[in-house]
């Protein structure tokens, strides 16, 4: 055996593995491409349809580039479309939802941060039971609490109002926000709290100056989570509000279901796009924080 005989089979097998690897990558990319089409297809149809006039939809097929693009359906969806009996478009309901989503996101986030921190710092009997109950709160289905919650809101005089819906989302959001923050703070080295204690900071000072600024990544996650789940909520909205007080998802439903005769697909599609846009934008702008936040704790920071 000399070096030459040993070396000769090497290049051939190297070529073979290179080809195999190439084929593997091709398969991966092809699969991904199919999935991209699958997911983007409906969005494509929505956008193109929303830019067509009703005549064009009537004549042509659903799929196809609009021949005479128009933004009239978007304008109609925003300000003219009939939601139930009022033909106001989505705009008042959009504002309703902003009015709903801001406090219903910020309040549980703030309380959840404090709760979560307290659960990791203050030792008390039954701590684990409290945490288990909070977890249970996360996994309680909406439907199970719908009637008791409606009764409570009724007794509080908040039935049918946006404020009532805010309260419902605050209460329902607390277990989630507490759990998120608790799981974040549990990963913060205990030495930090000790150092702050030696520095003379009390519980709230440590929370305010040391812990809260550190929790920014998880706070972004919590805010996105709360924002999207409230924005996209339909069940609470339809159960606890009515008439002009409904949030955007309920309004969207009303737009689609209140059209009579010929369906204005273009306006429906534009309305759906308008209703989905805020959550989409949140992900576009804060998505990287979202991923970073979900990873926080797994990597020592």
């Amino acid at each position: 055996m000399n070096a030459a005989t040993l070396a000769s089979p090497m290049p051939r097998s190297a070529v073979r593995t290179d080809f195999g690897r190439l084929l593997g990558w091709a398969a991966v990319y092809f699969t991904l491409f199919v999935f991209v089409l699958f997911f983007l297809g409906p969005l494509f149809v929505m956008i193109t349809t929303s830019l067509k006039s009703i005549e064009e939809i009537r004549l042509g097929t659903l799929i196809g580039i609009p021949r005479h693009p128009t933004i009239q359906p978007w304008i109609d969806a925003w300000s003219n479309a009939c939601v139930g009996v009022d033909c106001t478009g989505l705009s008042p309901f959009f504002l309703n939802t902003i009015y709903l989503v801001v406090p219903a996101t910020l309040i549980p986030t703030a309380i959840g941060a404090l709760n979560g921190y307290a659960l990791t710092q203050v030792n008390f009997r039954g701590q684990n039971i409290v945490y288990a109950i909070i977890l249970f709160g996360c996994f309680t289905p909406y439907q199970a609490i719908l009637i008791p919650l409606a009764q409570t809101l009724g007794k509080l005089g908040l039935a049918g109002t946006i404020n009532g819906l805010i309260l419902a989302h605050v209460v329902y959001g607390l277990p989630f926000t507490t759990m998120f923050f608790r799981n974040f703070f549990i990963s913060v080295p205990s030495d930090l709290a000790k150092a702050a204690r030696i520095d003379g900071a009390g519980f709230f000072q440590t929370f305010r100056y040391v812990m809260l600024p550190m929790s920014l990544p998880i706070m972004v996650v919590v805010i996105i989570w709360q924002f999207t789940s409230i924005w996209n909520d339909f069940l609470f909205g339809v159960a606890f509000t009515s008439g002009r007080n409904v949030p955007i998802m309920v309004a969207l439903n009303n737009i689609v279901s209140s059209s009579t005769g010929e369906r204005p697909y273009n306006i429906d599609m534009a309305s759906a796009m308008l209703a989905a846009l805020p959550t989409l934008l949140v992900y576009v702008f804060a998505g990287k924080y979202f991923v970073r936040g979900l990873m926080a704790g797994s990597v020592k920071g």
């Binding site: 080295p189 030495d191 930090l192 000790k194 150092a195 702050a196 204690r197 030696i198 520095d199 003379g200 900071a201 000072q205 100056y209 040391v210 600024p213 550190m214 920014l216 920071g301």
Partner: protein, 387 residues
């Protein structure tokens, strides 16, 4: 600057006792090192001094004032953590200033204090950075700065160097020592690294399983370990511990070690200060530091004893060559000169008789030898042939 007294301190979690009857006194300006393996309770003890760990009973006094019931911030202490525990979202400046800010110190005064500490630790250029942008050594400095800025009565260090790489650790160790010499502060320093303990301490407390094994100066701890545990823990390589028997012959005290040949090896020692503790034939443990065993040409010692041993292994480290000997079935390590040519096989060594310690077999406690207290040479000066 102040003295620290710990009096019959106990701490237990339920039935599990983690600190038992700790009595420690550190005078003003003492560099007290708590030394022991992981889980010996040294960090818990430090936490108790800091006020982060509640104690079960006993007392802790700083400057004569009991601090047991005080919050950490009121104990007039500052602590450097193993993990540095720098506040990650704050700049170095804010990290150092945080304690003052919380206590409501005026901005002007804070800035002055920061400038002073930054100057001392040479971290002026880092003040506006965040901890994440600093190297390990720089973080270490900032952590010290945060402690320094308080000018506390007692500094507490919890294994401050163990997260640094070997080279940096040596540098920072020297810096801590320089800092100590300049501040002449009272320091309590926890470490599991005996080299840190030996180089830094004015007083070492060796701990094991929550019990203090010995308190003494580095010299005392090294030269006269209180028991076999300390003897085996301190020194690198540690003291050789060899089973032996006490013999008496012609009025001389002999230590009988199983020799390399058929005959046991006899070494004349000064013997216990109180001869009645070790009657004829008592089994003891002989402790010999590696540097007390050497080759005949290496050192001139008055009181030496020739021993024949089989060389099993030769490990040169550059500055020293460690030689593993087989002495009657016991593994014994000798520290030899690197220039001494050694190879495996039978070799004659000299043992420094003054360097031999004896320990009680059952308790492991060191047995005081005659003449030791006065630092006098042993009574017996004649060299005895083995056997």
């Amino acid at each position: 600057m102040a003295q620290l007294n710990i009096r019959s301190l106990h701490k237990s979690y339920g039935n599990l006792s983690v600190l038992e009857n700790i009595d420690i006194e550190a005078r003003d300006g003492e560099f007290l090192v708590l030394l022991g393996p992981s889980g010996c309770g040294k960090s818990t003890l430090l936490g108790a001094i800091a006020g982060l760990e509640p104690i079960s009973s006993g007392d802790i006094l700083i400057s004569g004032r009991s601090v047991v019931r005080l919050e950490p911030k009121d104990r007039d202490i500052a602590m450097v953590f193993q993990s540095y525990a720098l506040y990650p979202t704050m700049t170095v400046r804010d990290n150092i200033a945080f304690g003052m800010k919380v206590r409501g110190v005026a901005k002007q005064e804070r800035d002055r204090a920061i400038a002073r500490v930054a100057e001392t630790l040479q971290i002026g250029a880092l003040l506006d950075r965040k901890p994440g942008q600093l190297s390990g050594g720089q973080r270490q400095r900032v952590a010290m700065g945060r402690a320094l800025v308080r000018s506390p009565k007692v500094f507490l260090f919890d294994e401050p160097l163990s997260n640094l790489d070997a080279k940096l650790r040596v540098e920072m160790r020297a810096e801590i020592k320089k800092l100590y010499q300049r501040l002449s502060a009272t320091i309590v320093y926890v470490t599991h690294d005996q080299v840190e303990a030996m180089t830094l301490a004015t007083k070492i407390v060796v701990m094991k399983s929550g019990v203090v094994q010995q308190i003494g100066s580095p010299d005392e701890i090294y030269g006269r370990p209180a028991n076999t545990y300390v003897a085996g823990f301190i020194g690198s390589p540690p003291m050789n511990l060899i089973p032996a028997r006490m013999r008496r012959k012609d009025g001389r005290v002999l230590l009988e070690i199983e020799g390399t040949g058929d005959k046991p090896l006899h070494v004349a020692i000064s013997g216990p200060a109180n001869p009645s503790v070790t009657p004829e034939g008592t089994a003891v443990i002989a402790g010999i530091r590696p540097e007390a065993i050497f080759l005949p040409h290496e050192k001139n010692h008055e009181h030496t004893q020739k021993i024949d041993a089989v060389v099993d292994l030769v490990e040169p480290t550059g500055s020293d060559t460690f030689v593993t000997l087989n002495l009657g079935g016991n593994k014994v390590i000798a520290r030899c000169h690197p220039k001494s040519a050694l190879k495996a096989g039978r070799e004659t060594f000299l043992v420094d008789i003054d360097g031999i310690q004896i320990f009680d077999v059952s308790t492991g406690m060191r047995i005081e030898q005659a003449g030791e207290d006065l630092g006098m040479p042993p009574v017996e000066m004649t060299r005895l042939a083995s056997g």
